[in-house]
């Protein structure tokens, strides 16, 4: 078990390092300078910039300095927001992105799982078709369309909910700002989770041990819940891993549409403005989150299923 954990952890670190190298190379070699502005900069000004940000040193020196910073969780100064460090943006942004992602994930499971199980219990009858069609629609309407539609309907036309920004405090009115972004973020995952749940349940309900349980005389409810549900939802659990990465990209859209200053926004702005430190910071934080989460999922799997540990 320990060997398994160590291997997984090492793989995670290796991935992070490769990502750092890759992002670093791309950001340094990209077309477009972070300092260009409408009027061409005179060479003396460009020189001042490069000295200030340490960009006049050779690449490997820059990378080494950056690495030393990352180990201390310091991502360096931002070129977009002069005089401010990338950390000042990533720290609050990260908090928001995590909260939003968490809410979205929880909401997706809370709605998606029951939906899928429900559909599987009425397989091929109307409730099943209805539930699955709704779920599939969740996959078919892109979240950058769903978000504005929800805003149009619930915020502007019906005036039920506020449309954007982040809650100022914990009051109910402020917290209601989170409703539309959460739904937008969760919708596509509700769809996937319900489909996976349905498929998993159907799979399991046809297995031999279920038939045995029925033959033993247990009522359908017990069979369904006690024996079926436990195993039927494993595909849903395994979706949790890739879902984290998807929620992260989904949040880029949601943050843009709802003006939430989360990590996704900073990443996209950084990419568009060639703010190398911002890009690196966001990419590393994101990747670390995804890797960490996958690691946890792997550990859980390893605990549950010994076969996985030796593979």
């Amino acid at each position: 078990m320990l060997g398994f954990l160590i291997r997984r952890f090492a793989a995670g670190l290796a991935t992070l390092f490769i990502i750092a190298v890759f992002s670093f190379c791309f950001t340094r070699l990209a077309p477009g300078s972070p300092f260009s502005s409408e009027r061409q900069l005179h060479p003396e000004i460009i020189k001042a910039y490069e000295q200030y940000y340490g960009l006049d040193k050779p690449l490997y020196v820059q990378f080494w300095r950056a690495l030393k910073g990352y180990v201390r969780f310091d991502f360096g100064p931002s070129t977009m927001y002069r005089g401010r460090s990338v950390n000042e943006y990533i720290e609050p942004g990260l908090g928001k992105s995590i909260q939003l992602g968490f809410l979205g994930a929880v909401f997706a499971f809370l709605i998606g799982l029951p939906l899928g199980v429900f559909a599987s219990a009425h397989q091929n009858r109307i409730p099943d078709h209805a539930a699955m069609s709704v779920a599939t629609l969740g996959i078919c309407v892109p979240n950058f369309l769903l978000g504005p539609l929800l805003v149009q309907l619930f915020s502007l036309k019906l005036k039920w909910l506020p449309s954007t920004l982040w809650p100022e405090d914990g009051s109910l009115k402020e917290l209601s700002k989170l409703i539309l972004p959460t739904i937008t973020l969760a919708m596509v995952h509700i769809a996937y989770i319900s489909r996976l749940g349905r498929a998993g349940m159907l799979d399991v309900m046809n297995k031999d041990y279920i038939r045995t349980a029925r033959a033993k005389g247990l009522n359908e409810w017990t069979v369904f819940v006690k024996h079926g549900l436990k195993n039927g939802v494993t595909p849903v659990v395994s979706y949790a891993g890739p879902m984290v990465a998807l929620v992260l990209t989904g949040s880029i859209v949601v943050e843009k549409v709802f003006a939430i200053p989360g990590l996704g926004q900073h990443f996209v702005n950084g990419a568009l403005n060639r703010d190398a430190n911002m890009i690196m910071g966001c990419v590393l934080v994101y990747s670390a989150l995804v890797i960490a989460f996958n690691f946890v999922v792997d550990v859980i799997y390893g605990l549950l299923d010994p076969r996985v540990r030796v593979s």
Binding site: I18, A30, C140, P142, P148, I252, V268, V283, V290, N294
Partner: protein, 292 residues
């Protein structure tokens, strides 16, 4: 039946795994309807731009932001271009990106996964470790970085980048299939009988791999199309005067009061994704039962 050997043979033939799966598939009404719908939409993207009298680049300056009417069935956009021809031309590009990117990822994935499984042992472990590492990378972020750093935004770059970053899942699936199939009884039997390795691959493995690959492909296409529309939304998609559903939808969501901007491309995309997903589901149901 019994006495006629040819008939007997025919009866045996029709029970081959692929044929049985197909039979099961075609019994799925939803999937069949979706095939028809998809062909309709796909056909429209081919035919409509060909037969229409409006050019997708030409502006009617008297009728910008125009509502749908007799002359412009889907209205006009902000510079007076006919939206119907743009929706269907955009469809061509969306389909092209979806299919081509998926094709790239499938080709790479199948080759990689099969090779890894056949190589076995340490090479296999190393190759899969590499896939694990790639899996850990937030794929969209990398795509965004690459797209924002390339200077030209041609359709080719988009589908290449998307394709190159989606092959990992299919490689895992293929590898898993090949590994499990190697152990199957009938393969061992074939080997015992002296059937050559290529023949084993061709007649026994490929048909069985094909199932999951087809299912995956059909389900990957919609996710690639969505990825392309996501890139368009953040401004990294196809550039003017070409267009795609993603570009049209992201333009349209900025002007929801002009409902025709977003409704037609949105409906087209939704229908296409719905159909592809249903077909993929149907295929999976059809092949899956057979796997057991």
């Amino acid at each position: 039946m019994g006495s006629d050997p040819i008939e007997a043979l025919a009866a045996v033939e029709s029970r081959s795994p692929g044929r049985m799966a197909m039979r099961r598939f075609f019994k799925n009404r939803r999937a069949v309807i979706c095939i028809a719908l998809l062909l309709f939409v796909g056909g429209a993207t081919l035919v409509v731009p060909w037969v229409t009298r409006h050019d997708y680049r030409e502006s009617d300056w008297e009728y910008t932001y125009g509502e749908p009417n007799g002359k412009y069935w889907m209205g006009t956009d902000a510079i007076g271009r006919d939206l119907m021809v743009r929706v269907f031309l955009g469809g061509r590009i969306s389909f092209a990106i979806g299919f081509l990117a998926t094709a790239v990822s499938v080709i790479i994935g199948v080759a990689y996964g099969a090779t890894s499984a056949f190589a076995g042992g340490r090479i296999d472990a190393m190759m899969m470790r590499f896939v694990d590492i790639l899996y850990g990378m937030p794929y969209m972020l990398v795509v965004i970085i690459i797209m924002s750093l390339t200077e030209s935004k041609s359709v080719l770059i988009v589908f290449f980048v998307l394709g190159v970053f989606s092959w990992m899942t299919i490689s895992r699936i293929v590898r898993g299939q090949v590994l499990s199939l190697r152990e199957r009884e009938y393969v061992e039997a074939a080997r015992a009988l002296g059937v050559s390795a290529p023949a084993i691959i061709w007649r026994h493995m490929i048909p069985n791999i094909l199932g999951p690959v087809i299912v995956y492909t059909t389900l990957a296409i919609p996710s690639v199309m969505l990825a392309e529309s996501f890139l368009s939304f953040i401004g990294l998609g196809v550039s003017e005067p070409e267009t795609s559903w993603g570009v049209l939808i992201s333009e349209g969501q900025q002007a929801l009061d002009r409902w025709w901007f977003v409704t037609f491309p949105g409906a087209a995309l939704a229908i296409t994704l719905f159909c592809l997903n249903s077909i993929g589901d149907g295929l999976r149901d059809a092949f899956d039962v057979q796997q057991r």
